[in-house]
């Protein structure tokens, strides 16, 4: 049995934590939060590229480090802990993973090296309005290799160079790579619950679109991409949830009320014990997801769903109850609780809500347990 980070992976994770403690302090996150003109921290992005993290899981032949997915999960956990204000998920978990899993050799050669260096920022453009996007509702379409339609909201869409877009072609849904800098695209930054991450409305009017993966299978491809994304996001959520528990603990140990430290009150202790229980359930499910992702196991759909459900639940609970433990201070702008509260919403919404993943999980279980 070897169901944990290895010593090398732990070393990488420790190094990542030190690096982010130095380069991604709360002040750096708040720099993006408080500046409406910035959707990410470009300096941190360059530094992360120099560390090789953007290409951690990209093969060496395409300019990456050629590490495994578990290493990427270790980095993700630390990025989540630091609420890093960079388009890492959109670029690495979505775009790089999608191109590696479904791209042609030419697409891999053209895109992956530029992701590894930090030249290309990615994004995933599926949503067109409130609610879940379905085949019958999908409006965006590609005709003669040109895309038209509106995607809203697109996480990191305002800073991205290359979008992965769900659109119909000849009446059948497909997934397309669209160069956002090549014309025929308008990107407008929108306000969101989590201003430390960029969000945009992308309007396409004859933008050049290059199909990724099989024609007519757009929704299946998006789901396959999201299975991979879900595991990696679960690690970001887990990192955030653990940090929320630490912050709550630190605060409760220093705060006195009614003549004694509030960390001694059972109402506080049980709340934090509940956080711990949820975080450990999330960690164990996330590790299983990491294993399934790393070896491309047939169990990936259920493992990814379980990882995402547990991590979404843990981060939401820890982020909201951390505010509660901090009391009035927790509701202020200057205490960091809200950075995590916001990020927990961003991470839960960005790749399908937990409710959707629960339905997906049960559908998979039905297939597995069909009599």
């Amino acid at each position: 049995m070897d169901f944990d980070y290895s010593d090398d992976q732990k070393f990488l994770k420790d190094e990542a934590r030190k690096f982010l403690a130095a380069r991604c302090s709360s002040a750096v996150v708040r720099g993006v939060l408080d500046d409406p003109a910035r959707s990410y921290d470009a300096e941190l992005w360059r530094a992360v590229a120099e560390q090789g993290w953007l290409g951690a899981a990209i093969p060496e032949e395409h300019g990456g480090l050629g590490l495994g997915r578990v290493e990427l999960c270790a980095i993700a956990e630390e990025l989540g802990r630091a609420v890093a204000p960079i388009p890492f998920a959109s670029t690495v978990y979505v775009l790089a993973e999608a191109v590696m899993a479904h791209g042609t050799d030419a697409q891999k050669a053209a895109i992956l090296p530029r992701i590894a260096t930090g030249e290309v920022i990615g994004c995933l453009a599926t949503s067109e309005g409130p609610g879940v996007i379905t085949p019958s509702a999908l409006q965006a379409r590609v005709e003669g290799g040109k895309l038209s339609g509106v995607k809203i909201p697109v996480t990191d869409g305002d800073v991205a160079d290359l979008a992965l877009v769900l659109a119909n072609e000849g009446g059948r849904p497909g997934l397309f790579l669209v160069d956002l800098k090549a014309g025929g695209v308008k990107a407008e930054t929108l306000e969101s619950l989590d201003p430390t991450r960029g969000v945009a409305r992308l309007t396409f009017d004859g933008a050049a679109a290059d199909r990724l993966g099989e024609a007519g299978r757009g929704f299946e491809l998006v789901q396959a991409v999201l299975d991979r994304v879900a595991v990696l996001l679960a690690f970001e959520q887990l990192g955030g949830a653990d940090r929320c528990l630490e912050m709550a603990r630190e605060y409760a140990l220093g705060r006195y009320a009614f003549g004694r430290v509030i960390a001694g009150y059972q109402a506080m202790k049980h709340k934090m014990a509940d956080m711990y229980v949820k975080n450990e359930v999330a960690r164990s499910n996330a590790y299983y997801g990491a294993w399934a992702l790393d070896v491309d196991a047939p169990e990936l759909p259920t493992a990814a769903a379980a990882a995402r459900i547990a991590a979404s639940d843990a981060f939401w609970f820890a982020s909201k109850e951390s505010v509660q433990v901090h009391g009035g201070m927790g509701f202020t702008w200057e205490v960091d609780c809200h950075l995590y509260y916001r990020r927990s919403r961003q991470l839960s919404l960005v790749a399908g809500s937990p409710k959707l993943w629960k339905e997906r999980l049960v559908s998979e279980l039905e297939k597995k347990n069909a009599a």
Binding site: M1, D2, F3, D4, Y5, S6, V70, L245, R249, A252, L253, R260, V261, A263, G264, Q266, M268, K269, H270, M272, A273, D274, Y276, V277, E280, V281, A282, R283, S284, N285, Y287, Y288, A290, W291, D294, V295, A305, A306, I309, A310, D313, K355, W357, K358, E359, L361, V362, L365, E366, N369, A371
Partner: protein, 407 residues
């Protein structure tokens, strides 16, 4: 990250499995499959334990000199997994070998160690643990059973409760009050006692589930020699903490019917809009149960990983019972509600799945209390894992005899 045994672990598993196949077949040929709680079942359990001890598979982590297997914690876990798969296991020895006998080994005199350890390993004698009392459940140190010195003897009077296996145990370790004039933790002392002594009386407890699996134990002028003392006079609390630390690594599965069983049930039940399995609210719950079950399973794997690497496992296994017990209750109640008015029936001949969910519903409240209530377990996580301060102890500096007791 993988689920594979190391080459040494795989070799051990293979050896254990091969032994189990043969041993289980021989055991069944001799004893059949007797019904639980019958004398035949007890006899079969003792025979199985003896067979394991002879092969070095009883108390695997204990030294061979005392009858153990001289093995490692991961070998012990591997054997338990394989034993569960082989379908032969008996619960009679868990508490004795997991908690009582290690306490005897740590604190008894040489004569008692020579006398008791080996027969216990071989399943010849069964031990029980007598800590809880009507006035000392979560607050065990508030117990009232008195031991008074009389020459070279101690005379014990009082009552214990929820003692697992008291009625079939040969010996027990008992925590008693030897000094009521000092604060509660300081006046306790531990002894081993003979459960067959006529001064010991066991009465079954009628549980809310209808069964009578646990006991009250009464002591009326029970005499124990001073040589039966485990640890110093007044050191009973420290000894008890050692007993509790020896609790075996929890590697068992979760309690009651699992998510697969409830899925199977829901597939065949009709709700207001088709099969219950298609009901959105039910599906959300099902997903949560699956995620929690997987969470516990993989948490056990993380514990095993630490053992496999020769490390001390982290505190993560402390989440197990809180989740398992609450999930058992929620799952059972949902399954019973899904049966509609019919859910009220408890006859295994009528209720779906032999009334497994109705039984589970009535057992779950006990599981949320036994071996540490939800609330105490959360305190333990908060204090020992998260390092939060203990609660205010209003009885800390008060002599036991002056403590308020209520009714």
């Amino acid at each position: 990250m993988d689920f594979n045994d190391s080459p040494e672990e795989a070799a051990y598993r293979e050896k254990a499995r091969a032994w189990l196949v043969e041993a289980a077949a021989a055991h069944r040929a001799e004893h059949g499959e007797p019904k639980p709680t019958t004398p035949e079942h007890m006899a079969a359990g003792k025979a199985w334990q003896a067979r394991k001890a002879a092969a070095g598979y009883a108390c695997i982590t204990w030294p061979a000199a005392v009858g153990g297997g001289g093995g490692t914690p991961i070998q012990s876990v591997i054997f338990s997994q394989e034993e569960a798969k082989a379908g032969v296991s008996y619960g009679y020895f868990t508490i004795g070998l997991g908690m009582c006998v290690p306490t005897v080994m740590a604190f008894a005199d040489e004569a008692a160690k020579q006398r008791f350890v080996s027969p216990a390993v071989k399943g010849e004698e069964i031990w029980c643990q007598l800590f809880s009392e009507p006035a000392g459940g979560s607050d065990v140190a508030a117990l009232r059973t008195r031991a008074v010195r009389d020459g070279d003897d101690w005379i014990i009077n009082g009552q214990k409760v929820w003692t697992t296996g008291a009625h079939y145990s040969d010996y027990g370790i008992v925590l008693v009050r030897t000094d009521p004039d000092v604060p509660k933790h300081k006046g306790l002392t531990m002894f081993w006692i003979d459960m067959r002594d006529p001064a010991v009386e066991c009465r079954p407890i009628h549980q809310m589930s209808g069964g009578r699996e646990f006991n009250e134990v009464y002591f009326t002028d029970l005499r124990a020699k001073d040589s039966q003392r485990l640890g110093g006079v007044g050191d009973g609390w420290k000894v008890a903490l050692v007993t509790l630390m020896n609790e075996r690594l929890a590697v068992g599965g979760s309690a009651g019917p699992d998510y697969r069983r409830v899925m199977e049930l829901a597939r065949g039940l009709s709700g207001a809009n088709g099969p219950v399995l298609k009901d959105a609210a039910f599906r959300e719950k099902l997903a949560d149960w699956y995620v929690n079950s997987q969470g516990l399973k993989f948490t056990r794997f993380r514990t095993m990983t630490a053992l496999s690497r020769g490390q001390t496992p982290g505190p993560e296994s402390s989440i197990g019972k809180i989740i398992a017990a609450n999930q058992m209750q929620d799952l059972a109640n949902t399954a019973v509600e899904a049966q509609g008015e019919y859910g009220i029936l408890v006859d295994p001949a009528l209720a779906p799945m032999e009334a497994a969910f109705q039984q589970s519903l009535m057992w779950a409240p006990g599981l949320r209390i036994a071996g540490g209530t939800d609330e105490i377990l959360k305190n333990i996580i908060a204090e020992r894992v998260l390092g939060l301060p203990g609660d205010v102890r209003v009885d800390k500096d008060v002599a036991f005899k002056d403590m308020p007791t209520g009714r």
